[in-house]
Subunit: 160 residues, 2 copies
């Protein structure tokens, strides 16, 4: 079996190829900033917000601007390498999407913890509703909001 670090390297190189193809297809320029942002995202853990990505790159002394971060995030959403979420707040959260299973989210309204889950029925709903309402469904967003019942939930620990 392939090791986790090796798999990460493989994914990073694959997403670069996909991004390159996308940039070529639309005659967009292959700038070092764009690749640096893509790589930063794929080496980071799960969900992140634009500002955190910007700060993190700045901390590594990488010269980049917010404008470029936002511009590149939009490109990456367009070529399906990341997904953009709005978990009820006025703040976009992003997530890498290549090489990971499609999933939806369950958000704790008390501690804002985000869990992921998969359910095949959502695909059925998408295709049925697309047919009935005559839409070509491109993507979806399903968020469940609730309270964690486990005793070790972060917000329960906090309130002890």
């Amino acid at each position: 079996m392939i090791s986790a670090p090796a798999k990460l390297e493989q994914i990073v190189s694959e997403v670069k190829v996909i991004f390159s193809a996308y940039l070529e297809k639309f005659s967009l320029r292959k700038t070092p900033e764009r690749y640096a942002i893509l790589e930063e995202i794929y080496r980071r853990t799960d969900h992140f917000v634009a500002e955190a990505l910007y700060i993190h790159m700045k901390n590594q002394n990488y010269r980049v601007s917010r404008a470029t971060v936002y511009n590149t995030l939009e490109l990456l959403v367009s070529c399906d390498l990341i997904t953009k979420h709005q978990f009820g707040k006025n703040l976009a959260q992003y997530e890498k999407s290549y090489g990971f299973k499609q999933h939806d989210h369950l958000i704790c309204v008390e501690c804002a913890e985000v869990l992921e889950f998969c359910d095949p029925r959502i695909q059925q709903i998408k295709s049925m509703m697309g047919d009935i309402l005559e839409f070509e469904i491109i993507h979806h967003s399903l968020n469940l909001f609730g309270k964690c019942l486990k005793t070790d939930c972060e917000h329960r620990i906090k309130t002890n």
Copy 2:
């Protein structure tokens, strides 16, 4: 059968009772502004944004501030009389929810048209995921994004 205007009046009076009970329960004040905003929402059509509600009340020469509008919208969300949505933009949209069937949304990515649909499977997903992940699910948000295939879709008309 009861007429549509009569039904609206009935709903308006019912939501006022519910709101009153909520305000009493939490020892909040029954101000004229709060009732005026509630009434305005229930007499208006479907989805709206906070600013539009504010402008609309101003145009009727009702003296109200944005602060109060936002404050009241939050109260109404808390007592389940309206629901708050984020259809992919950094802009909250609201919708009255009492007396209307629970539904989800299908958004056209080209013309931003919003359609509503119901599917019982979403309830099954909610209860199953709540059980498995040990969450008490309070509410959910399911948005499908796609392109309208009908020839009379607004964005198709626009581009003619």
